[in-house]
Amino acid sequence: MPDIAPTAAPRQPLASRRYTLEIRQQMAWHWQALILALALLVGLGISTAILVAAGVPAGELLNEFVLLTLFDLQSLKAVLFQAAPIIMVGLAGCIAFRARFWNLGLEGQMIWGGIAATAISLFEVGPEALRLPLMGLAAALAGLAWALAPVLLKLNLRVNEIISTLMLNYIAANFLLHLVYGAWKDPRDAFPYSPQYRPFERIPEFFDGYSLAIPLALLAALLAWWFVSLCRAGLYLRFVDANLRVATANGVPVRQVIITSVLLSGSLAGLAGWLVAAGQESRLTQAFYQGYGFSGILIAFLARNNPLAATIVALLVATLFVAGRNLQVFYQIPFSMVQLIQALIVICVASSDFFIRHRIRRTLGRDA
């Protein structure tokens, strides 16, 4: 065959391409929801493939994941039990991120929530009937206080909140260890945890084994939603989120808006600490907070900082936790697989943004 390869790439007419990309400014919310759902499906599909490769029989997977987790009453209770604090940290993430404040200190604020709740229990503050709500209040205030320094530092001295909140986590975690290994250690055994809360200091069950924590978390979600969308602060918050200079020039009280939402975020994280301590562990343990900070950020991201969406995502994350634990028990799949799946889903959803921002059109070029 004679050598007829052209030296340069042939010049093609402009319109021969069949598909074009367009930047899309706006997309109806139901399409966005559909794309997100598809992204979730893709993420779950890849996760399934990995689990099957790791030795879980494909047929059993459906059984484990969907049927056993969601349609088994016991597992459903476990999911809801798990979900309440996850919802809280998710909300905490949403509200801070809406004010463009990257609160990576959710765990630190949770820890202080747990510590404050435990202090109320240890020192028997208040009458028995008010003990539990007092613990909650103390937890919220402690979380708020732990968020106060970073926001003031940021607004007054421009200290980067990513660093300050993250570092404050270590201070909180080591102080927690100091307490549970030292002064607050349960004298009855050798483990590093505080004495058990008394029965009236635990979050009660309200209906045949469902923890009251769930309706509390849902209530918090509704309040957070109202805060960001239905009240005046929500409009202010949208402007702070969209463009700080525009907000300032239009008379938005920027400082107050940022402080309010960060403190709200801190107290929600503190409440999450209370929900774990008083609702699940019934005492202060050394690692009760672990993983929540990351989950909170992830949930806020997946939910686009929308509190209602965050609630749903938090339920999914809780399902994943419980299913992961089942897999661990029955198939010796390491728990880190759960984190792998979380990460996969986040990557899929993040990539789906492309389809929300762009439109792919089929065009019939003239000479195509």
Binding site: T20, R24, Q26, S229, L230, G251, R361
Partner: protein, 502 residues
Amino acid sequence: MPNALQLEGVSKSFDGYKALSDASFTVKWGEVHALLGENGAGKSSLMNIAAGLYAPESGHLLIDDNPVRLKGPADAARERIGMVHQHFKLVKPFSVAENILLGLPKRAGSHRARLLETERLVAEKAAEIGFAIDPRQTVATLSIAEQQRVEILKVLLAGARILILDEPTAVLTDQEGERLLSTVRKLARQGAAVVLVTHRMSDVKRFADRVTVMRGGRTITTLDPAGIDIAELVKLTVGESPSLPEHTRNEAGPVRLQVRGLRSPERGGRRILSGVDMDLRAGEIYAIAGVGGNGQSELANVLMGLPEPCEGEVQVDGLGDLLSASPAQRRELRIAAIPADRYGLALAGNLSIADNFAIGQVHNGRYGGFWRLREGVVRADTRAAVERFDVQGARSPGQKAALLSGGNAQKLVIAREFSREPNIVLAHSPSRGLDVRAGAAVHQRLLAARDAGAAVLLISEDLDEVLALADRIGVMSGGRIVAEFERPADRQAIGKAMVDHA
């Protein structure tokens, strides 16, 4: 002359909006070809396609009469097409040479050696076309006109022979613009093909060899600007001739805003504001004229409530000191602010039109108390304002504000700011970047506000605008008001005051 670049039957839409329909355009080697049209006529979209930034849905692109397909700006650069955008694309902390090196194709040799080589090339090219530029200077320290020269050097040194300039004179003073366009014309005479995207009739008339008029995404006609007068060009671009607003001098009322000794902190031996004194009276338009960069932006920011460190007095009738007023107090005064930077200061592009409208009056409780936002009232008000102020392209209150074209975004700002009868209007370059008709609409609103008794401050670098609207004119130079003129003012005298004190 042979054809350099040809676009045939190009169509492009954004999110369902047809920006270009069947547009055709040809520029020949050796000519300056103006692309004239109102805002939103599709000039920039068409040229972005020529520069490989957008992919069209249909149509052909031909270079030297060969069909070409551009996959991106790199392809365009390979075809020796270079575009200078309206908003410069420079890395500010880098030096001139570093910025230019960034745009050159990768080649062997150490970075240091290539940088030195680039510095030499820049100096050579700059001298050749008569630009005064130090290749080692940091871009951030350059003026707008100098940054533009860097952009032009960048595309020239990258080998561009087809030069596209998007609204190059919009940011320049008259003299700077004239110099730039003469240089560009010289480049064309040496054989390059130059496309001049503009909406200034005078530029077209004086510097273009041919002009193509665009309207509503279509190319209407191509003709020789020498054979047509400006009124006819205007008619072609807008479809009809706009009339200048009538101006009658009003009896000015009491002083509403009094500025005394306003100074900004000293930096590098000079102050941007060096003692501004002025009075703004009810029922008058006081215009501040001057060459750009003499403190107008800083003055506008201070008065519009942006944190700008400064000393001095700004007294407002009925309140006292404006500088220490809280946002709420400022709202109470009913100050309408129309900043120059629409999407940087006035509107949040990512938020809805309704949100952007509501922020103007949410403070006074019209849209519910603190605990509630009455979405229904917001939407109804927004719809009414959109209707009343003729904001086009607003299909629903929930639509993103960024989807509005420049002129309509400005109308939305005015709709919001004028929704409560303003006491004081602060307008900074309110018709910059707007087409003739939208600009005239803005001027009408300012005059109407004045006639309703408001005190209007107009800060503008456009002397035509100032002369058409102002009752009194203050010339700003070196950070202060150096001369004041009463209407009718002498254009020459104002121009002299603008440059004499610089």
